[in-house]
Symmetry: C2
Subunit: 379 residues, 2 copies
Amino acid sequence: MKVAILGFGTVGVGVYEMLENCAGLEPGPVLVRPGKEDRPFKVSSMEQIVNDPEVSAVAEVMGGIEPANTYVTMALNAGKHVVTSNKALVAAHGIELAQLARLKGVSFLFSAACGGGVPFLHNLAIASQSDEILALGGILNGTTNFMLDAMQSEGKDYGDVLKQAQALGYAEADPTADVSGLDALRKIMLACAVAYDKLPVDGFDREGIESITAADVADFQASGLTCRLITSGGPAGESVYAYVEPVLFPANAPECSVVKNFNMARYNGKNAGAIVLMGQGAGRYPTASAVVRDLCGLGALEMLRPACAKVQADNSACAHPYYVRTDASRAGLFRFRESRLIGSVLRGVTEPVAVPAMHALANKIREEGGSIFFAAMEA
Amino acid sequence: MKVAILGFGTVGVGVYEMLENCAGLEPGPVLVRPGKEDRPFKVSSMEQIVNDPEVSAVAEVMGGIEPANTYVTMALNAGKHVVTSNKALVAAHGIELAQLARLKGVSFLFSAACGGGVPFLHNLAIASQSDEILALGGILNGTTNFMLDAMQSEGKDYGDVLKQAQALGYAEADPTADVSGLDALRKIMLACAVAYDKLPVDGFDREGIESITAADVADFQASGLTCRLITSGGPAGESVYAYVEPVLFPANAPECSVVKNFNMARYNGKNAGAIVLMGQGAGRYPTASAVVRDLCGLGALEMLRPACAKVQADNSACAHPYYVRTDASRAGLFRFRESRLIGSVLRGVTEPVAVPAMHALANKIREEGGSIFFAAMEA
């Protein structure tokens, strides 16, 4: 089967190379920008791809919503399978694209959009056919995991590890999408859609890693705890819950063994129990391997089923105790299970607080010019 | 699709219940022993199942090689898909059964035979289509992991944790297959067949957990190490390597977070990188969930491909440093990197030793009436 590739950046090159060595698949034309057709297999017109009868599938790895959406729509309309690594595209137009694919009798798969090389969405799609998924989530952003791990293993401060991540190419010049938790949130949107036929588009709570300091690390490390940025999703009545926040884990939690820029995805099946998947969440070959894995399974699996619809996330029933570091003057805002005052800094662990309430409180403190770091305590 | 079930023990009941709640699948007749047909859906004749035109697939969860092999052969000859949890059957007759399935245009899948609820073989089969699997293995026996974890977390001795595992139903009255590493070895045989088209049937090295003592645990724990029973496989020229032995890991290895009777499977893809999968390796619903997952993916995947052939395992190129506890009189048999003599007990870490050489040395010491515990040091 000949596979056209849209985009020839980091992932596109990886997909091209893997297709050259994969039995049953071969690389077809590669779409590049006009003027960049420096090799015979590169083309700059999407028409050439959709009109090529030898091309049976298209791998979209260009990123961004447009022109990706237009091109993917063209490919599906031409009866070609589509595999994409583009989480923004799937979050914005996935339901419509999956409907079009169904109409045309082809596949629309996007394993690489969540977890990189970790075979998460694929397994989630299979598990959700036969099992009830009670919860899902994990460490879905490698950049922030690299930064948190460096802070905790080397005692470095936030600014230093951010520079290090940028120097290594793990973080972008504007790291906001990663460090604010937005990237991880987009991934949980897709996972909820696959597992629950519900794509949450609003109503999230999101706390990234921008507030953590070396002093915070030293404090919770003294209690044997490890911090990870965790994305959580699950059923919530007629909707789903979906949020991102730092979480503190005891030493033998699987999350603690996820180091550097690795990812960990998990789901809890009513029958299968807790299933944990770890691997590289980004990078040329890990991400390409997820694209190619999807290409090997075309026709076998539907990731977004006909019932999939957009919903408003509902986190109101989610609650945990939180580790909090804030200004002493804010003490009255929390019901602490235990707390300590060190100069003007208050540290403590709260009684269980609803996730939206905790995030709202932190936003309020920051709006008023105050300072806060918080992390859920893993039960 | 109606699915007949062969066997109505722990796993069979779980499969039946899951099929009642799985869209697109429903339970058909269940084969039980004559005289046990106490419900209308139970039958005692395999002919009734193979001659039932409504039955499209058969789930074999009775275990043992016969009559399972005869029944599975009958089902395949009748053009019915077969899914099995029976590792002994697949190790003994899998290649022939897969050939028959291919001839009849049906599937022969066995995810549940390796890793229980952990989706290992399924992912390995997919990954091996498009990636080069550089190594595979992990913690594939829940009984021994429960015992090792209890020894290390509670300081108990081997005999006590064995009794505890038997009382909880994790270990059988005769625990030999588990504690000797035989069960784990059978699983790596299947994993090698799926990943490399090579089913190793001989030439293994196998060390279980029968020699570990509370004193050994105390000693390596003082160095921050954790012991797990690890099954390893990988390519070895025209053959594969395959062996089972205790391994000591540093604190933040993912293996250390595998507690109780959980399993962890891993593979290392040339492109995907290290992929780690954790979950429950046994039990009614986890194992049934693997059977049902295979039933949901019939026709999409071949686990044993046409090229699959039996080989002699070749471990000669595998070598590690080993932690060794033995009698002081045996000191001359090892090249120690570091060692200590405490009374008549010698403890130390060797220079790298080939796996077959280390296992042969231990066998020799035991044949001569000596005592030894050894565990590979994770690099």
